[in-house]
Amino acid sequence: MKNSHLALFVAALLLIAAGCAKKEPEAEKAPAAEEVAAPKIDEATAATITGKVHFEGTAPEMKKVEMPTEAVCHTKTQQEPVHTETVIVNDDKTLRNVFVYVKEGLQQKLPAPKEVVVFDQRSCWYHPHVVGIQVGQPFKILNSDVGVLHNIHAVSEKRNGFNFGMPGKEGIAVTREFRAPEVMVRIKCDVHSWMGAYVGVLDHPYHSVTGPDGTFQLKTLPPGQYVIEAWHERYGTATQNVTVGPKETKEISFTFKG
């Protein structure tokens, strides 16, 4: 009889409607349009803060990384050993992988740079180990390990978390953005427990990571008073108050004790 057909039809419609309704979340992924009337930095007056991060004491020995569960990477590490990057002390007793950034004192809101931060998974290891980025800045994740499945898991207390698998294929890339300032977001691979990295997410572009010479540079800062923080994954944080005038370049230094 008729009533049964209609009941059928209606139930079907409802399910279909349910199916359509779900598509919405995908549409909202348009890039955050924060660039309206973005304030500009006056190049003429911009100041710079540079410096070094020193290390005192004996550096702990960094262990060789074993990659027993991933045959491809295991073979590679047998040829070129990889060492943990937790504490790397350069020859001149400076400390690498320290994230130095402006913690307080910035008056202006600056638009996110278009410049892409590349984050690679190569030989079951993250490159780089520590990196800074601004909220909304593109974070391009690569997987250069062909045939190896990685998983990128960002562990966040804020809204920066993500967690997804990434099969290893030529030219594969996923671009993400971070949503809230957070120092630091831990990135790890759930498939390979030895893989770990840190991303410092800020709402401005004034950050730097110390390299093989232990130096950092915070360029094109508006003159003013700042709190500068240095963060290290093992030795914690240290802060300094710095005042810079127009066109001034100030040199500061941090020291971590082992």
Partner: protein, 592 residues
């Protein structure tokens, strides 16, 4: 008894919405449930196909599928988290939203008043409400695929801590929360339905319909409703606790010292085993919630098409009561190796093997019903016989798993997958098919195409065995459940051809269901008009028109004079005597 109800069902509501959408007519609601379950079943079946695809060719690149599933199969390769979501949702949808919904809520609603001689369910409004509660549940469950991180990914059992810690797996984010909410809707709906079933069966039986004259289908549904009412509260409690652990920092299921995402969690004092106890306290009766209706349908359909009374009706009822009762004390057999005390394992071994006795008795009774029968091989009968075969296969493999020591190598392997796909999934799926072919004329007033129906059976039966039986061998060979790529293990790699064979069979099985869908929707509109009693059956629904009007019977309610299994009574001209036929009429029909 039923007279109490007669006044308010006298007029069928006239407006479209009241009549077809927010209807309180048990038949409309039953069909709403059925169709919801059927469409959910299509989704759940497709999920299974994807699971099988990946198991046969793990991590293979399928560019086309990459376009269809832009997140889960980004770059064309199935991601492990998507794979896990697929089998999690396949299980959840099938167990709760298809194989509970279709036989219990669908056929239960449709059949109970018709088979006991009532105008409607005891609480028609509650009945409608229960449907409109489960529908959001279905929608929430399905929508979880579009949540960030994908759908729930802790298995249909949602074991904590995987389900309790958001960082544990991508699907443990929003997807798991939606899973819990969807389940709460389902349980609320099922509870309303259960109350309605029990009240209706106890209070609204027509004159003469004593409990000892109830068709076995109604007995099964009655027991199922009781099981649901007693078992589901445990899951409700567990689901709420899980929600609290996830979002409000409680520690029901989380002990101290858990290190997830390179962070030490602040939880302390809980235990993951609590979830398992609570879940399986529901989970095992739930298995019988799926199976009992199938047992009821089979008994009635086999009797009808054997033209034989069901063998040993009182024992059939008692064995169902025993199965229902025992189902509450066997849950621990899912937990032999969970870290639970081995003494408990011993107790649960005993109860588990005891429950095999009434199950075996039922099988023998079905066989005895076939003895000296005059079998008519209709589509519903073929499926009912299929159930007997699947039930035997699945029941026997259960004996391995029920014995704690033999369970050690087989636990959480494909042997278990094979076992429950035969006994729980297979029997109840075939039960739904049998019931659909059998009662379709009553539901829609038209016949389903019998040739297509039989073809559907042959393909399904063969494909079912070739899909699920080889899983026993995989399980014996040690292949674990829920693994994305078995070829990672050297000892499993040689069995990969079996996985390919199973996948191909599964595709045939899936494709065969298209016949059913086509037959169903085609027959709703174009099927041959059905007579009132096309199968010459005895139960009361066949004394109503096809389909029955609002209120089920035009005139007064039928009076019952006998049990429903008077088939081939000697010396009577017809080989069946409907329940409503009085002894006097039988006298008149006696052969001269």
């Amino acid at each position: 008894m039923a007279k109490v109800h007669e006044p308010h069902v006298a007029h069928a509501p006239q407006s479209f919405i009241r009549r077809y959408i927010f209807s309180t007519d048990h038949k409309v609601i039953g069909i709403q449930y059925y169709v919801t379950a059927m469409l959910t079943g299509v989704v759940a079946g497709i999920l299974a196909m994807l699971v099988r695809l990946n198991l046969a060719w793990p991590a293979h690149e399928w560019p086309l599928l990459g376009k269809l599933f832009p997140v889960g199969m980004e770059f064309g390769v199935m991601k492990p988290e998507f794979y896990i979501s697929l089998f999690t949702m396949h299980g959840t949808l099938m167990v709760f939203f298809v194989l509970s919904l279709a036989p219990v809520s669908g056929f239960g609603n449709f059949l109970i008043p018709l088979q006991i001689g009532a105008r409607d369910m005891a609480y028609p409004f509650l009945n409608a409400l229960s449907y409109w509660t489960v529908l959001p549940g279905v929608i929430i469950m399905l929508s979880s695929f579009f949540a960030e991180g994908g759908a729930a990914a802790a298995g249909w059992t949602s074991y904590a801590p995987l389900s309790a810690v958001q960082e544990a797996i991508p699907g443990s984010g929003m997807g798991q929360t939606l899973w819990i909410i969807g389940m709460v809707f389902f349980i609320a709906s099922f509870t309303m339905g259960g109350l309605n079933f029990v009240t209706t069966i106890i209070n609204l039986r027509t004159k003469g319909m004593s409990m000892r004259r109830l068709p076995l289908t109604v007995w099964a549904l009655f027991l199922v409703a009781i099981l649901g009412l007693l078992a589901f509260p445990a899951l409700t409690a567990a689901a709420v606790m899980l929600l609290f652990d996830r979002h409000f920092g409680t520690s029901f299921f989380l002990p101290a010292g858990m290190y997830v995402g390179d962070k030490l969690l602040a939880h302390q004092g809980g235990t993951p085993l609590l979830w398992q106890h609570l879940f399986w306290f529901l989970g095992h009766p739930e298995v019988y919630i799926l199976m009992l209706p199938a047992m009821g349908f089979t008994s009635d359909i086999i009797a009808t098409f054997s033209r034989r009374p069901i063998f040993s009706y009182p024992v059939m009822v008692l064995s169902m009561v025993a199965i229902g009762g025992l189902s509450f004390v066997v849950w621990g057999h899912h937990m032999f190796l969970s870290g639970m005390s081995p003494y408990l394992g011993m107790a649960f071994t005993v109860t588990t093997l005891v429950i095999a006795i009434p199950s075996a008795v039922k099988t023998f009774n079905w066989l005895a019903t076939l003895w000296r029968a005059k079998i008519e091989f209709t589509a519903p009968m073929l499926f009912a016989l299929g159930i007997v075969s699947l039930f035997v296969t699945g029941g026997l493999s259960g004996i391995f798993l029920g014995s704690a020591a033999a369970d050690i190598p087989l636990h959480d392997t494909y042997f278990v997958v094979a076992h429950f796909h035969f006994i729980m999934a297979g029997a109840s799926l075939f039960g739904v098919f049998a019931a659909t072919y059998y009662w379709f004329p009553k539901m829609f007033g038209r016949m389903m195409n019998s040739k297509l129906g039989k073809l559907h059976f042959w393909l399904t039966f063969v494909a079912y065995y070739s899909t699920f039986f080889p899983m026993h061998y995989l399980g014996i060979g040690g292949m674990m459940r829920r693994i994305y790529d078995p070829t990672v293990y050297q000892y499993l790699a040689p069995m990969q051809p079996v996985n390919v064979f199973i996948t191909l069979s599964a595709f045939v099985l899936g494709a065969a269901q298209l016949l059913f869908l086509f037959n169903f929707f085609w027959s709703v509109y174009k099927g041959k008009k059905a007579e009132q009693n096309p199968w010459n059956a005895n139960t009361l629904e066949w004394t109503a028109a096809s389909p029955p009007p609002h209120g089920n019977w035009e005139g007064p309610l039928p009076t019952v004079h006998r049990w429903p299994y008077d088939y081939s009574v000697p010396d009577v001209s017809d080989d069946y005597i409907p329940q409503s036929v009085s002894p006097a009429e039988v006298q008149a029909r006696k052969k001269g």
